[in-house]
Symmetry: C2
């Protein structure tokens, strides 16, 4: 997986919309920074209530910024979630900075409008403590194990279910199936689910990703599974969603730490889980930490992150200064 | 017609080829010069003898430079002239500078390769006395009337047959049909022809544009027209070809000054013309020159260009220093 493949695909996705292609390519080439990750045509949530989504023209995940290109006589279409969209990763862009570029039919004026946005983006990157885009590291579970946590707001993706499990110290060399038990937390299963109709399952992740349901289309099987999950199986889930990858194929994106919601499950007649945290702690293989922890983050009586160095801790404190997270320094 | 429309169409033509789109957009945005005209996917002559053509990835007409993007496992296709290609303008790129960019699957290396080409292009523009790209002026016959000549190597295009005629001082406000008589040169007709099968005509412009033929598919009509052209009509032609425009629709591109070749006409059984000059003099309306001429250029005993200012004369002398053109200074 190479950055060049990724970026040229991002540019080409705009290929039927000439204005978009012009704007996106100009922004990319004038930013001229291979440390920047840029995603085009990213599905974002517009309205959780009505389950409406839109395609953001450009999304910069490192600085949580969206660029919208307003073409004349063409408003951004809002869409109700379709099955094909459920194969894509959907960004919770509620706290994103949104910048709009109005298309005008004049080359110099267009260039000036885009250039001022480029300047703004560059300033954001200069003033924020962002992580350099490193494709190899991004897909490597050890990156998150060393860091001490997974964060669903970062759209962390892995190529295999094995890699998902290895974030929690599983140490697998290979793995069949769509998940495994967490080796060091007895309440937790690790699950990689398809949130679009497949085989006999029709699972659903709701728009704000606060809940998800598992539903089997054979009602007898569904009832049996529901009972098993409610009364026998582990109640908590480290959730990964199977989504289309920007490199082609599919990948697994971390969505958070969920727990069975018994009341809703019985109401709906299908297993329903509620998110208890967007952040989950990672584990070294065999739970053998090669470094000493400097701190732990605690949210709602759960340990959600471990920190092995001050710098990472500082970055986390800065990002979550408004959240009700407490810290235990070691 | 706006530069922005033109350029975004140029970028979008590469839309199915992601490498091309990346390279073309990077070159355009980093050159960052709205005075530069850039054409993508330009048909160029590869071999006059075999009538083979290729699509140049990028063509800079002002500096006569072609950029070829070499994708891995993908050689530039050569094609034999097809009817659909005959609707496009074909560039005689024989003396073009050709620069190749090899695609490599690495973002930083790709950027470096493209950036060094951008530097080279920019140097060419800095050291050459090129005409600033001005879309309005480019399509205005008065631009060429004031300058004193049309030059087929410059791919000069007009929107209407009326504009073609007005290069020669016709002063038309409107015009039906595909040409008119030259008002000040009794031997010359102005003709705008389709070089692809249309109605009952199947005219052909040969690969190096040295010859063209007019052929009517009704053989009786063809013979009658041939006789008329050989023995009654004017023997010389200011030729414009009807080609697809980069703005959409069609336009008329100046191809040169031609003369009936009687021998070849009789051999082929269709009217055949041979080019006598790529350059033709323009005329003010009513042949009333508002400025005094400073010089005339003469090629093969024909006046091919008039000059009304020293600067234009200097540019011409520089461009044609190797040609057997004589000058008469006034």
């Amino acid at each position: 997986m190479k950055k060049y493949n990724f970026i040229k695909k991002q540019l080409s996705k705009t290929n039927k919309k000439n204005d978009e292609n012009y704007v996106v390519s100009r922004i990319w080439h004038l930013l001229n920074n291979p440390d920047v990750k840029m995603i085009t045509q990213q599905y974002i949530v517009r309205d959780v209530e009505t389950k409406t989504y839109a395609l953001a023209d450009i999304y910069f995940p490192q600085i949580n910024m969206i660029i919208e290109i307003d073409e004349p006589y063409h408003l951004t279409e809002e869409m109700v979630l379709s099955d094909s969209m459920r194969q894509h990763d959907i960004v919770q862009a509620i706290e994103c900075e949104v910048i709009r570029i109005k298309v005008i039919n004049d080359l110099q004026e267009m260039n000036e409008r885009i250039d001022s946005v480029v300047l703004h983006i560059r300033q954001r990157f200069e003033t924020m403590d962002y992580k350099v885009w490193d494709v190899e590291q991004e897909y490597n579970p050890m990156t998150y194990v060393h860091r001490g946590y997974l964060d669903a707001t970062e759209h962390i993706a892995f190529k295999t279910v094995k890699d998902c499990c290895n974030c929690f110290g599983a140490g697998y060399k290979g793995l069949q199936g769509s998940g495994a038990k967490h080796k060091f937390q007895e309440a937790i299963d690790i699950k990689a689910l398809k949130f679009y109709p497949n085989a006999s399952w029709d699972n659903e992740l709701n728009a704000d990703e606060q809940f998800f349901t598992e539903y089997h289309t054979d009602s007898e099987f569904n009832t049996a599974y529901m009972k098993k999950r409610l009364y026998e199986l582990r109640q908590e889930i480290a959730l990964f969603a199977h989504v289309r990858s920007e490199f082609g194929g599919f990948e697994y994106v971390f969505k958070g730490w969920y727990k069975v919601n018994q009341k809703r499950t019985l109401e709906l007649g299908k297993v329903c889980y509620e998110r208890v945290s967007t952040i989950m702690p990672t584990y070294f293989e065999g739970n053998q930490e090669p470094f000493e922890k400097v701190a732990k983050a605690i949210y709602n009586h759960r340990e959600i992150a471990f920190f092995y160095d001050e710098e990472e801790l500082h970055r986390f404190l800065e990002k979550y200064k408004k959240a009700e997270i407490t810290y235990e320094f070691i």
